[in-house]
């Protein structure tokens, strides 16, 4: 157990050194888009709109935090791994060392979690300043951390799967971008017809947004959505282990 934790930290250590050197740039690039969404949707488009007794800003901020957790974790875990694997080709160094696939997958996931949390917390600070009604409860933190793990696992999986930079771009365009706009981040899914709703519940960000929003606004907590989110995380993690196992075929 100690050895597994040590190996996980060894994998994380190298990415933390990189983050320490580039933390400001990393943070800035992670929160620019969410802040633009906040300004455009929260202040621009959404002014005067209310959802279930909440102002649009109160409604949209938890969704944007979920979105930030997704992009920060996905890119934080997947992009560097992908670049190290395809462009710099230094990912083999991990495979040449006697550490387990489990430690490698978790270690590579944790840097995504760290980066996702860093960006989310920065946005949360902005959110609390703009919407003081936001509740940062232990449940909120649990959902946020879980979301970071889920999307970080996805980042590692895609980073291991992609055979080229185009593959990475294609995934972002076909999966991450639609998820950004359709997963209940900016609007309530209750307004949509049931078939559309059913499709959108296949996206993990939908469950992350709904759970985070419920926790932040003190609404009844959608445990089913939370467990669905955990389920996505497990599937992505198993996918990571499988992708690593297949890496020496």
């Amino acid at each position: 157990m100690v050895s597994v934790l040590g190996d996980i930290y060894s994998v994380l250590w190298v990415d933390l050194r990189f983050l320490r050197r580039h933390w400001l740039r990393t943070l800035a690039t992670s929160i620019v888009s969410p802040i633009l969404y906040l300004v455009a949707f929260g202040f621009g488009l959404g002014r005067g709109i209310s959802f279930g007794g909440y102002g649009y800003l109160d409604f949209v901020i938890p969704g944007i935090i979920a979105l930030t957790a997704m992009t920060g974790s996905f890119n934080g875990a997947g992009m560097k791994l992908h670049v190290d694997r395809i462009f710099y080709k230094c990912f083999d160094e991990y495979l040449l060392s006697p550490i387990s696939m489990f430690s490698l997958a978790v270690g590579k996931t944790l840097i995504g979690v760290v980066r996702g949390l860093l960006a989310s917390v920065a946005l949360l600070a902005v959110g609390i300043a703009l919407s003081p009604t936001l509740i940062v409860s232990p449940l909120f933190v649990l959902v946020l951390v879980t979301s970071c793990f889920v999307f970080s696992f996805l980042g590692v999986l895609v980073g291991l799967w992609a055979k080229s930079h185009q593959d990475m771009g294609t995934f972002s365009t076909l999966v991450i971008l639609p998820m950004t706009f359709l997963s209940g981040t900016f609007f309530s899914l209750s307004q949509l017809p049931d078939p559309v709703k059913a499709v959108l519940y296949v996206l993990p960000l939908t469950h992350s947004s709904e759970s985070l929003r419920a926790a932040a606004l003190g609404q009844p907590f959608p445990w089913l959505s939370f467990f669905a989110l955990v389920g996505f995380g497990l599937v992505f993690f198993l996918g990571c282990l499988l992708a690593l196992k297949r890496s020496n075929v």
Binding site: S3, G6, S10, V14, F18, Y88, E93, P98
Partner: protein, 287 residues
């Protein structure tokens, strides 16, 4: 003699194409073994299989008596690998890259520091320890790659085209380093497509062509089989022909009897390129 690497009918097929085929190879402990062949001959695939990065399609391979398929973790503990491309993290310093490798191989904090200082001193990079790898010259980066792969004191060092892209002076410095490592007890398995590199460094070479081992032995032994002296002739200003002789007297005697239309006669020592050309009809650089 103790065997460090052994392969038996080792084959790797990618999408129906054999990258290596029925490779039977033995590398002795303590030697510098060179794998010579043109690009695409299967040298890197062989290294990837021997270092557990790629699974063979069939056949067997072992390093230090550990099976590369069944005991990959044991193999990883006794090997160091320097890949053809720079496999360092370019955004980190020299020391950070070395520390990273040391951590992956479970070296404790005090041992990490001692080993990093020792290896930096070994290759004369102590003053560059805190420089970002990206800012170093190609030769320095290669030296960092080599010492990073030595953190856990491997018994065998695999070097895939170690001097490709380096200038002549830097190449010779790396040769010195490789010889020193070998004298200090490390078995070296290197691939190259530079004839002079194989001849200068290796006690034995294997020549690989289209995935098949076509010659194996000491460079002098392989040359002796062919003839130690080569005569190059140009026929009708078009075709270069090669003839091989046991010694210069036999070569000179042959040249004196050549008809007048045969021009540009060169008499020189034979080399491993001649061995390759004779076996394959092609040059090692692919022409």
């Amino acid at each position: 003699m103790e065997e460090m690497i052994q392969t038996e009918r080792l084959t790797k097929i990618y999408e129906g194409i054999s990258a290596i085929q029925d490779l039977a190879l033995t590398v002795h402990a303590g030697e510098i073994f060179g794998f010579l062949g043109p690009n695409g001959a299967g040298k890197t695939t062989t290294i990837r299989v021997l270092t557990t990065l790629t699974k063979p399609t069939s056949g067997k391979a072992s390093v230090n008596d550990f099976d590369v398929v069944k005991e990959p973790d044991k193999v990883k503990k006794v090997i160091g690998v320097v890949q053809q491309h720079l496999s360092l993290d370019r955004d980190l310093t020299v020391r950070e890259n070395m520390e990273f490798r040391a951590r992956l191989h479970h070296l404790g904090a005090s041992e990490r520091k001692r080993r990093i200082d020792e290896l930096l001193d070994y290759v004369g990079l102590t003053e560059n320890a805190n420089r970002i790898v990206e800012k170093l010259s190609g030769g320095m980066q290669k030296r960092v790659s080599i010492v990073s792969s030595l953190m856990h004191r491997p018994k065998v060092l695999f070097l895939d085209e170690p001097t490709v892209g380096l200038d002549a002076q830097t190449r010779r410095r790396l040769w010195e380093l490789i010889r020193r490592l070998n004298l200090d007890g490390t078995t070296i398995f290197l691939t190259t497509h530079y004839i002079e590199e194989a001849e200068a460094l290796c006690q034995r070479v294997g020549i690989l062509h289209q995935g098949c081992l076509i010659a194996l032995g000491a460079p002098l032994e392989l040359r002796q089989k062919l003839g130690l002296v080569t005569v190059e002739t140009l026929v009708n200003n078009k075709e270069t022909r090669y003839q091989y002789f046991a010694d210069r007297a036999a070569a000179t005697s042959y040249v004196q009897k050549l008809p007048s239309e045969v021009k540009t006669i060169i008499i020189r020592d034979s080399n491993l390129e001649d061995v390759f050309v004779e076996q394959t009809g092609q040059k090692v650089d692919g022409d």
